[in-house]
């Protein structure tokens, strides 16, 4: 439905976007995720029409957007700071796009009332934006952008100004709202947790390029590269060299860990001698004072180097005999006070050969 084809944007010497291509389906909740400066906001502004592309093409329903000004595009934006007009009431704010579209006055009144019901703020019509709370402003900003049913709704870090509790509540509301209206959402955020929770698909961006586009669960368990593995969730990244290929397993050598077997990455064919990295999520590592090595497992001994008590889980940094540090995680699910290990306790860790994921 929205096609972005080889889009580049440069500001002087700085390349904000470098030949970015992606395809967003109708009705999708699509997220652009990345650290600040990765180009996600630039891309959003290009889609909205606030900025022009240097190269490439943006198509909406097969028609090029590039020659259209922002007001001509059937695309509305929810701004990071809401951008509610301070001199207009809530109703006037919401009526604004309808007025611009020359909708008849009675119809406007009706639509404003309806959308205010939808965002559960029917009694705020005659308030001014500065009389609203952050969450209320947020809902009005979304209502204003949705009221004349754009083809596409762009959301630029809309929840970043809210506190953690309210943010979670708004996330649920956003998911439900999107399901209800069925409009395609393009969401920009730097918060990976938010992206995983909200999206149908996520494009992870880094330095003006797209690192990977996938569903949240695929991104988490099978990252395509080190950047994605590291950016999403906690991860042990271990540099490795491929020793031998063939058979069910690949044999790799990791500095300080020696040689061990891993499952191959079905997407990528590694050859002998290739350098790569093993990504290992902390929750996939078994940790105990003593462990029996199961089949298909590798086992190491070490001691607790550091620990972070996080309430539901504790993160342990395990120092192996060779000095390599591995992060492991244990749920504090036993009843009573749980303090399983202390610093310098001798422990063993183990993981299945298919627990890790090999990236180039």
């Amino acid at each position: 439905m929205l096609e972005i084809i080889d889009v580049s944007r440069r500001f002087g010497d700085f390349v904000a976007l470098d030949k970015v291509s992606l395809h967003i389906q109708a009705g999708e909740f699509f997220t652009l995720l990345g650290p600040s400066g990765c180009g996600k906001t630039t891309l959003l502004r290009l889609i909205a029409g606030f900025d022009h592309v240097d190269e490439g093409e943006i198509l909406l329903d097969g028609k090029s957007l590039t020659a259209l000004t922002p007001e001509q595009r059937p695309v509305h934006t929810v701004f990071q700071n809401y951008a509610l007009f301070p001199h207009m009431t809530v109703a006037e704010n919401i009526a604004f796009p309808l007025r611009m579209a020359k909708t008849a006055k009675p119809v406007i009144d009706l639509m404003v009332r309806e959308i205010l019901e939808d965002v559960r703020l029917p009694d705020k019509a005659n308030h001014y934006p500065n009389e609203l709370s952050g969450g209320q402003k947020q809902r009005i900003a979304i209502a204003r952008a949705l009221v004349n049913r754009p083809r596409l709704l762009l959301l630029d870090e809309p929840l970043s100004a809210l506190d953690a509790k309210l943010r979670e509540q708004m996330q649920i509301e956003l998911i439900n709202l999107q399901k209800e209206v069925g409009i395609t959402f393009v969401y920009v955020t730097h918060d990976q947790g938010e992206a995983l929770a909200l999206s149908h698909r996520i494009a992870v961006m880094n330095k003006g390029e797209i690192s990977q586009i996938d569903e949240p669960s695929v991104l988490y368990s099978c990252p395509d590269n080190r950047f994605v593995a590291d950016f999403i969730g906690q991860c042990n990244l271990l540099d490795a060299t491929v020793i031998s290929v063939g058979g069910r397993h690949l044999r790799i050598a990791i500095n300080g860990l020696g040689e061990l077997d891993v499952c191959p990455n079905p997407e990528i064919d590694f050859a002998e001698g290739d350098s790569c990295a093993l990504t290992l999520r902390p929750e996939k590592i078994r940790l105990a004072a003593t462990l029996t090595k199961e089949d298909d497992e590798v086992l190491f001994s070490g001691k607790v180097h550091d620990m972070l008590y996080l309430g539901d889980v504790t993160v342990y940094i395990i120092e192996l005999a060779s000095g390599v540090l591995i992060e492991a995680m244990l749920a504090n699910d036993a009843p009573g006070r749980t303090r399983l290990f202390d610093t310098d306790d001798a422990v063993q860790i183990a993981w299945r050969t298919d627990a890790g994921h090999l990236v180039p």
Binding site: F50, A83, R144
Partner: protein
């Protein structure tokens, strides 16, 4: 933590109060003596309105006051329009030289502006009189209006205009429906500031007035030069009153402007 150096100490408060006294005492003296029934501004004799009565019979002063009002009104209107445009231009083009050109004269001593305007009027054969005064006032007021408008603009969230465009407004509609209403307090404040500056100005008027026309400050100057009389106190008191009223109105509209 309670006894913190970030609160004003007693010494600081007394020093500050003394400075306030320094600021207000002279004006209190002026007002007080305007009701004093003595020709000398020396000691209190008794209460009287007679200096005010005399004032309203003084044709020259009334004429000068009328001139001042006409000049201030016309130059405030012109300066508001031009200053708003200048403020928008500064904001739009973000050129350093442009803002230096428009705002620079604010930092110049009045006498230099007066002298250079005088020279320019002579060069262009502009007859000195009401017209030259108005032109002069417009030119030094533009900077202040531009400053008020520009500071309002730079305080304005740029995404508001983008939001308007995004929601389907043409550039002209976005300007008319979003930018202009948000600028209005700045424009009005700038205009009122121009009015007070114009009605109060002495130095620049002094150089650009020529012989025929006089304004209230010029009239006060010549009165003061000759002799100190309570009539001047009366004019001054009235003038303060007028300014006070304008400032109060101004602070109602936009408290921020006063603090710029």
């Amino acid at each position: 933590m309670v006894k913190n150096s970030a609160y004003p100490s007693k010494a600081l408060i007394s020093a500050g109060t003394l400075v306030y006294l320094f600021l207000y005492l002279p004006l209190v003296v002026v007002v007080l003596f305007s009701f004093n029934d003595s020709k000398l501004n020396a000691e209190w004799v008794g209460f009287t309105w007679k200096w005010y009565e005399k004032l309203f019979q003084n044709g020259e002063i009334l004429h000068a006051a009328a001139n001042s009002l006409i000049i201030a009104t016309i130059s405030a209107l012109l300066a508001t329009v031009l200053g708003t445009l200048a403020g928008l231009a500064i904001h739009r083009f973000r050129q350093k030289w442009l803002s230096a050109l428009v705002l620079g004269p604010i930092a110049m001593p009045d006498i230099l502006i007066g002298v250079s305007l005088l020279l320019m009027f002579i060069l262009f054969n502009v007859t000195l009189g009401m017209t030259s005064i108005i032109l002069a006032h417009v030119s030094f007021c533009i900077g202040f209006v531009a400053l008020a408008v520009q500071s309002r603009l730079s305080g304005m969230d740029q995404s508001l205009v983008e939001a308007a465009r995004d929601l389907g407004a043409l550039p002209t509609q976005a300007f008319r429906l979003v930018t202009l209403p948000l600028l209005k307090p700045g424009i009005i404040a700038g205009g009122m500031m121009a009015f007070t500056l114009s009605i109060d100005d002495f130095v620049i008027t002094f150089f650009t007035a020529g012989v025929g026309s006089s304004t209230l400050p010029l009239e006060i100057y010549s009165m003061v030069k000759i002799a100190v009389t309570p009539e001047v106190n009366a004019v001054s008191t009235l003038l303060m009153l007028v300014t006070l009223i304008i400032i109060t109105a101004l602070s109602r509209i936009s408290p921020m402007v006063l603090r710029q």
